[in-house]
């Protein structure tokens, strides 16, 4: 049974060193939960971007919470490079596992299906594959002369975290057409969800809402977080705050500017966090 609790209690479920899957930047990113993790000075997190990282990852890196990132790309989108990410990768303060979008989807699909690997077309000959000793290129294992193919190992993160507009009291979560979040939750050992609000209506009772719902079966715990994705967008609720993100992109270029940003937007513990 999915538990509904306070957002700080939700954040406390994630221990240091956890392997954490995050939605891509454009929507459903649990920014408020990320700020809780920064406040409690989470350490050595391994972040899996599904498949792209942005503001959330950049802030976690800057605050010293992250040991490793796996992603197809990390940026602030139209606001340019992710400054803390770029700096940390260039100075080898975090370990970066470069991937490509479909490989990340495939790795989670393999975990969803309970198989140790899944094949994926293309990619052979790229330096991405050349730098991934965990991937494997094999001759057509079906023996049908289809040539070489890449096998991607399953990824089963400790936690999937996301922010949704709506969940019901049973813990069923509205996902809409963002089905990669369903795969992410299926693949993860635990899924933690923040929501704008809870409804008393069972989302599974109506065929229309059921089609876009992640069942509570896959959800460990939930918390309410009004504006929980801000300053990023949340489909149907609010737009991306371009000004705020542009300002972040500017100030986070320096250690001091970033520390000041954290202190202002995340809270008092921030400066120490940005070690």
């Amino acid at each position: 049974m999915a538990e509904i609790q306070d957002i700080n209690a939700l954040a406390d479920r994630i221990p240091d060193g956890a392997h954490l899957a995050l939605p891509p930047e454009y929507s459903f990113v649990p920014m408020q939960l990320v700020r809780c993790l920064i406040r409690r000075q989470a350490r050595e997190l391994r972040i899996l971007c599904v498949p792209l990282g942005g503001l959330a990852v950049d802030m976690l890196i800057g605050a010293g919470c992250v040991a490793e990132i796996e992603a197809a790309a990390v940026s602030l989108g139209e606001n340019g490079l992710a400054p803390r990410f770029t700096d940390a990768v260039l100075s080898h303060r975090v370990s970066m596992k470069d991937s490509t979008c479909p490989a990340l989807h495939t790795a989670l699909q393999a975990a969803e299906k309970g198989v140790p690997f899944m094949p994926l077309g293309g990619i052979i000959g790229s330096d991405i594959a050349a730098n991934r000793p965990d991937w494997r290129i094999v001759d057509d294992p079906m023996g049908q002369g289809n040539g070489r193919i890449l096998l991607i190992p399953a990824i089963r993160p400790d936690f999937a975290i996301l922010h949704s507009p709506l969940a019901d009291r049973n813990g069923n979560v509205w996902i809409g057409r963002r089905r990669e979040l369903v795969t992410m939750a299926h693949a993860a050992k635990q899924t933690l969800v923040t929501v704008e609000s809870f409804t008393d209506t069972d989302l599974l009772a109506d065929e229309k809402t059921a089609a876009g719902t992640l069942p509570a079966l896959y959800v460990t715990a939930l918390a309410e977080a009004v504006g929980g994705a801000r300053p990023l967008a949340l489909t149907g609720c609010y737009e991306r705050d371009d000004g705020a993100i542009a300002a972040y992109a500017q100030v986070a270029r320096t250690d001091a500017g970033f520390a000041d940003y954290l202190a202002r937007t995340v809270g008092a513990h921030a400066p120490e966090a940005a070690e």
């Binding site: 599904v50 490079l81 490509t100 989807h105 000959g125």
Partner: protein
Amino acid sequence: MTCKPEEFQISVLAGLLNQPHINHVAVGAASPIPGAAALLAQQLGGGRLDVTIIHGNANNAFTDGGRELFDCAGQGRIDAFFLGGVQIDGQANINLVGTGTYPDLERRFPGSFGSAYMYFTVPHVILFRPEHSRRVFVEKVDFISAPGISPPDVHRPGGPKSLMTELCLMAFDGARGRFRLVSVHPGHSLEEILDNTGFSFDIPDSVPETQAPSEAVLVQLRSVIAPEIAKTYPGFASRVFAITPEIREFEENVR
């Protein structure tokens, strides 16, 4: 009619999409000029071309999550796609990761996105990189995000077909692994291209000038395509077409 560089590029890219074998073009994230080109090609083709813009919900019919773009390409249902590159070399290898010796990079860029897959699966990949300099067009990329060509034992229905820059249009010959100059944009010269390209490429005896958009096309672009692309890229539409938020709001209410 004067024509902005973006309008010129949109028009030329739209021309590349106007081919009998291209029935569905997809456009990745953060690609306003390719997006506008796809919508313009659709308009000029009388709606025959399917357009998918993976950035927001406008002109995006996908409902199966983040993997649908890649699945759709793997099914052979996407005929054209756009890719760029921090570096692009003469064998059409593209680099989106960084410069220097990986993993000890000098400059780090966001990453490879889906390029390593789309380059293999989409038959007509159009490379679009406005900045035409020796910094971009290098002899050999520092990191291969996606290779331009593959050996015969790798299944590869897709690959690069064209390269469009602020100076010229090139075609890529996959069998030979070389670019060939197709046309030079008005106001630019072969010499300028040679000076700013770090790899060798084939030069036909006679190189025409790239055709600028007709007045009719420009009118369609500004009146029909501009408000449509504003749904996905309001900042771009405002800057290039002076589409204001009020117009956008109106558009959103009537759609």
